[in-house]
Symmetry: C2
Subunit: 252 residues, 2 copies
DNA sequence: AGAAGTTCTTGTCACCACGACCATAACTGT
DNA sequence: ACAGTTATGGTCGTGGTGACAAGAACTTCT
């Protein structure tokens, strides 16, 4: 760690310690994804203050010196939207380009979480409104986002996409009990692909411990059909456990 | 983004803008991994100044307001160790626990890169020394690291391990031309597994574009044996291109 | 030189996961 | 009762993979 000796920009504190250092504001921003109507949705707040007043943004705010980044993310999310997701938040990137905030030097740490149910959404005091938007509208540019939040959202979706591919943790999207059709809809929504329902069932059934049948059945949907079986998540994908093992040999 | 209104900690600038905000120092830290003698090694610098003077640490330092995080990481790495790896640095985490630096509030953004050849290592002015250490010594606690750098190193290795698993980008470790045995040694070193050389060859050969035979052969090793074929990296794993596609169906 | 040892390379075989697709079961509304 | 819809189970062929055997090419030892 090297001490930077340069002429301080206006506002940098003096005599804070033996060292001079450039001062930054540190913020956290949170991307909340959820499934509504078989579509991937994104939680946004409408900014009430300049800059970018009136535009949509992902919830977030300043980190306090007394809290961790994880705590700051959970706190800001709840303050601005009323949504609680502390244990599900995953840090996935930091953004610190010099011009990303027109006011000052801001470095932000971004979090993402996928929720089966966001619960009640309540806009905070500084936000004009808070609600879900389809991610397709956002990434297609039909909803203009403040700051570099579009880039952050894109990165978040990329992260979720590959996470799903590797660990297979899709149960985070659905409820505590779910049908295979619901689970399949998650995969199809996240990376726009059609999966064969029969093969999907088989691939989960062969891998022991992914989903556990409850024995109960859900009522048929509006269009009828055989009542689907209800499952709950197995312990195979509790928290970052490796699923696919690399190919290996035994001897030598 | 919400404006935090609280009594400023000592040293927070006043009148910088309409808003008050907590001031942080932002640093970047870089984990450099390389293979030496079929062993995974880690680039460390010995701290010349308090705190943690004399202890080993991963290279890093303060971000400047005029540069991006990526630029800061590349600059600090070269300043402290003489190693250049700008295009290979990958951001993988941010650390901001309140007590992680005893002097002040510091949030650090961590980068990792895997190099086939670190080149000449030259300790910077503030570092007493800079050299490679076997990662096994570090994670086993035989080399004491400053700050929370042990945690950062552990996370970096985890990241590389899974990256290798998903994208298969192992050519970053080896030279521009390499034998399959060298490439296989990378996999075996990163996640401690024995791979069958015949199957390893086949899995690379069937996947078009991973490795390209040069037609030339390397000289035999010290123990003799048939001279191995020389390969160079294919374009399949240039920069984050997806390798494994999820299973899908065509119709409906 | 010949033998022995080492490494690289090609080949074979069995198995299993997977995509594609069909058939049947179970339920809805008309 | 009947058509429409969804869930579930089964079959078949293909391809990737682990295990292993055998040959090719080179070095070192005797």
């Amino acid at each position: 760690m090297v001490v930077v000796t340069r002429t301080s920009p206006p506002g940098v504190p003096e005599g804070y310690d033996p060292s001079q250092y450039p001062a930054f504001a540190v913020t956290v921003d949170v991307v909340i994804l959820t499934m509504v109507d078989d579509e991937l949705q994104l939680l946004l707040v409408q900014r009430g203050q300049a800059p970018f007043a009136g535009m949509w943004a992902i919830p977030g705010g300043f980190k306090l010196p007394t809290e961790t980044l994880d705590q700051a993310a959970a706190r800001e999310l709840e303050e601005e939207t009323g949504v609680r997701a502390a244990s599900l938040l995953t840090q996935f990137g930091a953004y610190g380009d010099p011009e990303r905030d027109p006011r000052m030097n801001v470095v932000t740490v971004a979090y993402v979480a996928v929720l089966r149910d966001v619960g009640a959404i309540a806009a905070g005091t500084d936000a004009a409104e808070a609600r879900l938007h389809p991610v397709n509208d956002v990434v297609a540019g039909r909803v203009e986002l403040a700051f570099d939040h579009l880039r952050i959202v894109r990165d978040a979706i990329d992260r979720v996409r590959t996470d799903l591919e590797v660990t297979g943790v899709a149960t985070a999207f659905v409820g505590s009990t779910f049908t295979l059709a619901e689970l399949r809809a998650v995969y199809e929504a996240v990376w726009g692909v059609h999966l064969d329902s029969a093969n999907f069932r088989r691939s989960l059934a062969t891998n022991e411990g992914w989903v556990i049948p409850t024995g109960r059945r859900a009522p048929s949907g509006a269009a009828g059909g055989k009542p689907p079986e209800l499952f709950r998540a197995g312990r195979a994908w509790q928290h970052g456990g490796p699923i696919r093992r690399p190919s290996s040999t035994k001897r030598k």
